[in-house]
């Protein structure tokens, strides 16, 4: 489904990703781990098309099509979803209105009619229940005044609404207490099926106890230095990141 080939990217002339190769198939969960500054968040931003970063070499291919020249919103329409490490606040725009706009824009891109209000409401009810979200958040301004945990839950709620093909969870576990973590992980697991894929980006293996990866990749200094099964996460936790520096 997703193929990343020798990807080099950076910001203002400074290289951050220095040749990433990664293939992800439908139905798989991949975890990307690594110390701070290894390029994890850059990778997720580049896949989503953030123009702050410049791709200098390599390619990102989704369903046999290069994404490099594709606008971020079009990537979203094609099914790429990024759960932000720091979800952005948009004052005055309610979560409901925001997600409604997002869904209808996607439908428009797919040549579909707007989702009738009745169906939209039903969908919102269903998905917010899945994430055990307090309904009152839905009528509040997007992420404004939300706690860290609420923001992350809202991200997964949007993911549930948009049903992406490829979901990237960037440090979704940070700022979550154990209960919230379980709810979020449960939400992700329920959404997982044989046709979609998930990339979990994390510093700790804690989240991976709940979202069990098929593959674990260790990112260090802009490169994937080690790949393995889920046991790699435990090994990493045990030995610490200093271990990989010597690999």
């Amino acid at each position: 489904m997703l193929e990343i080939k020798n990807l080099h990217a950076g910001i203002e002339g400074k290289d951050i990703l220095k040749g990433i190769n990664l293939t992800i198939n439908a139905g798989e969960v991949h975890a990307i781990m690594g110390p701070n500054g290894s390029g994890k968040s850059t990778l997720s931003s580049v896949i989503a098309g953030n123009e702050t970063y410049e791709v200098t070499k390599g390619d990102i291919i989704l369903d046999n099509e290069s994404l490099l020249e594709v606008a971020p919103e079009t990537r979203a329409h094609k099914g790429v979803f990024l759960s932000f490490q720091y979800p952005v606040e948009i004052p005055g725009v309610t979560t409901t209105n925001f997600i409604k706009t997002a869904i209808n824009e996607k439908r428009k891109a797919q040549g579909l009619e707007e989702l009738p209000a009745k169906d939209m409401l039903k969908l919102i009810r269903e998905k917010s229940t899945l994430l055990e979200m307090d309904r009152k958040f839905l009528s509040r301004s997007l992420n404004e005044g939300f706690s860290g945990g609420e923001k992350k839950r809202n991200e997964i709620f949007q993911m549930a609404m948009l049903e992406p093909k490829l979901a990237i969870l960037d440090e979704t576990d940070s700022g979550l207490d154990i209960d919230a973590l379980k709810i979020v992980a449960n939400g992700v697991n329920k959404l997982k099926n044989k046709d979609n894929a998930v990339i979990v980006i994390t510093h700790y293996q804690r989240l991976l106890e709940y979202i069990v990866p098929d593959y674990v990749h260790v990112l260090y200094n802009g490169k994937i230095v080690k790949s393995g099964g889920k046991e790699l996460a435990f090994e990493l936790e045990e030995k610490g990141y200093d271990w990989i520096k010597n690999l």
């Binding site: 606008a71 932000f84 005055g92 209105n97």
Partner: protein
């Protein structure tokens, strides 16, 4: 990448033509240009006014002659030549109409283009529309329903004939002839406008609404509005404006006076979308408006305005909170683009005890425009326990525009509580990317964010008006608003 950037948007904004820029071809009865006592008398005569009214106008004219055009506002423009303006223009057909069938079909077409056809209004929104077409009313509806309640809603020219006592008592009582240059001019030459009286204890069953139009090239429009809400009554009044695209500057100097007697409430909403001039700053309406309301004991006046048009806006809807427990509110969105200049805000004058005022002002500047908030909160020494909350937020798009705030706060009583906040910000790159990532393109994202920014004010508008207001925001800043 062929991504729609903010720059592209700006470009598109600049080339975007004035969507409502069309011109209705209705024959007009028009005075030659120039202003002197004879013209003032002729206007008065044209309207068959009684002598007291003619004298009132003449006095205003003499006051105006001695005054100078003010220069303190943060606006730059070529001052109009007041001797090169025609001070009267009326459609030649002047029938008294009972139904829409009798209205000039051209006019109906105009309103349809605006999406506010009287027809629809009448049928769906339960709105009585007093249409002011180039200074003279040509259609009045829903008169009967209003009659039953004793509500008077008619052109002010008619009120001068039929209700002289009310007009004599209140006209100029809130905005005196001496108030300012433009108010004095208006007092001398006002052609028409609306008059509204709500009797004691009556809640007006529908939104009263007037659509103003400036239609004839070169004619200034001098509207005069007087709304009186007697004790314990309630009225919601809507005013909306668009103007045809014209190449020369059009002067507009309206005066609106509101009187809310004890326990009365007036809600006055405006959507203003006059021709703002083209992308080179040519043309556009000069809008110098004096709006003021007086609140007696327990009365409330609420001004809500959405300002997207005009080349120059000079407008400060104000409240004099005279009675105890009086409440004044001002909710405003002003959007400027291209070379538009807006200097707008409010005055809240606290005279009574326990008076309260709220000011929410939102300014959006784009292009090469300048957007200023100018406000005064004044607590007099005898006004105990006065409260004010003000919030002025500015949103900037592009770096060729300006946003300015000039709040004046004058407090002479120790029991007052005043809070003023102002912020200036731009639409963040991170906000746009977040929206993009969820599949919302930049154009739509901007509309969404601007709409969110303006929401506190939009929410204050009556439902049917809010829809139109959103439409105008769309046109002014592009992108459909979700």
């Amino acid at each position: 990448m062929n991504k729609f950037t903010e720059d592209d948007l700006k470009k598109e904004l600049e080339t975007k033509e004035y969507e409502y820029g069309f011109y209705t071809d209705i024959e007009a009865d028009k005075f030659p240009v120039g202003l002197n006592e004879d013209v003032v008398i002729a206007i008065s005569k044209k309207k068959n006014e009684p002598k007291w009214m003619t004298d009132w106008r003449l006095e205003a004219f003499r006051i105006w002659k001695e005054m100078e055009e003010p220069e303190w506002a943060n606006i730059n423009y070529k001052k109009p030549d007041f001797q090169n303006i025609s001070y009267y223009s009326a459609p030649k057909q002047k029938p008294t109409l009972d139904s829409l069938d009798q209205v000039d079909p051209e006019l109906l077409k105009t309103f349809e283009k605006l999406g506010i056809s009287i027809d629809e209004q009448k049928r769906l929104s339960n709105v009585a529309v007093d249409v002011v077409m180039d200074s003279v009313s040509v259609a009045t509806t829903f008169k009967k329903t209003l009659n039953e309640k004793g509500i008077i809603f008619c052109p002010i020219s008619e009120a001068i004939q039929k209700h002289p006592d009310l007009v004599k008592k209140y006209l100029g009582s809130i905005v005196p002839k001496t108030d300012n240059f433009y108010a004095a001019l208006n007092s001398a030459v006002f052609s028409d406008g609306s008059f509204c009286y709500i009797p004691k204890g009556v809640t007006c069953p529908m939104e009263l609404s007037t659509y103003f139009r400036i239609n004839e090239g070169g004619t200034g429009q001098f509207e005069r509005t007087l709304v009186i809400a007697d004790k314990g009554s309630y009225v919601s009044y809507l005013e909306g404006c668009t103007a045809p695209q014209r190449d020369e500057n059009q002067l507009h100097a309206a005066v609106v006076e509101l009187i809310a007697l004890d326990d009365a409430e007036i809600k006055y909403s405006t959507v203003q979308n006059w021709f703002p001039g083209d992308d080179k700053g040519k043309g556009g309406v000069f809008n110098f408006v004096t709006k003021r309301g007086l609140c007696e004991t327990n009365a409330k006046i609420s001004w809500t305005q959405v300002e997207t048009g005009s080349a120059i806006t000079w407008k400060y809807p104000s409240c004099i909170l005279k009675g105890d427990n009086a409440v004044g509110e001002f909710y405003s969105i002003a959007v400027t683009n291209n070379y538009q200049q807006a200097d707008t805000g409010t005055k809240m004058i606290h005279l009574g005890n326990n008076t309260k005022s709220t000011i929410i002002s939102k300014g959006v500047s784009a292009g090469k425009s300048q957007n200023s908030y100018r406000g005064l909160v004044q607590i007099h020494s005898k006004a105990k326990n006065a409260r004010n909350f003000s919030q002025c937020d500015s949103l900037l798009m592009g770096n060729e525009c300006g946003a300015h705030t000039f709040p004046y706060i004058e407090c002479k009583n120790q029991t007052a509580q005043i809070e003023h906040e102002a912020t200036t910000s731009k639409i963040g790159e991170d906000q746009l990317f977040y929206c993009n990532q969820r599949g919302i393109d930049t154009e739509k994202a901007i509309a969404l964010i601007v709409n969110g920014f303006s929401k506190e004010v939009l929410n204050k508008l009556p439902m049917e008006f809010a829809v139109e207001a959103q439409k105008l925001l769309e046109i002014s800043l592009e992108g459909s608003v979700g």
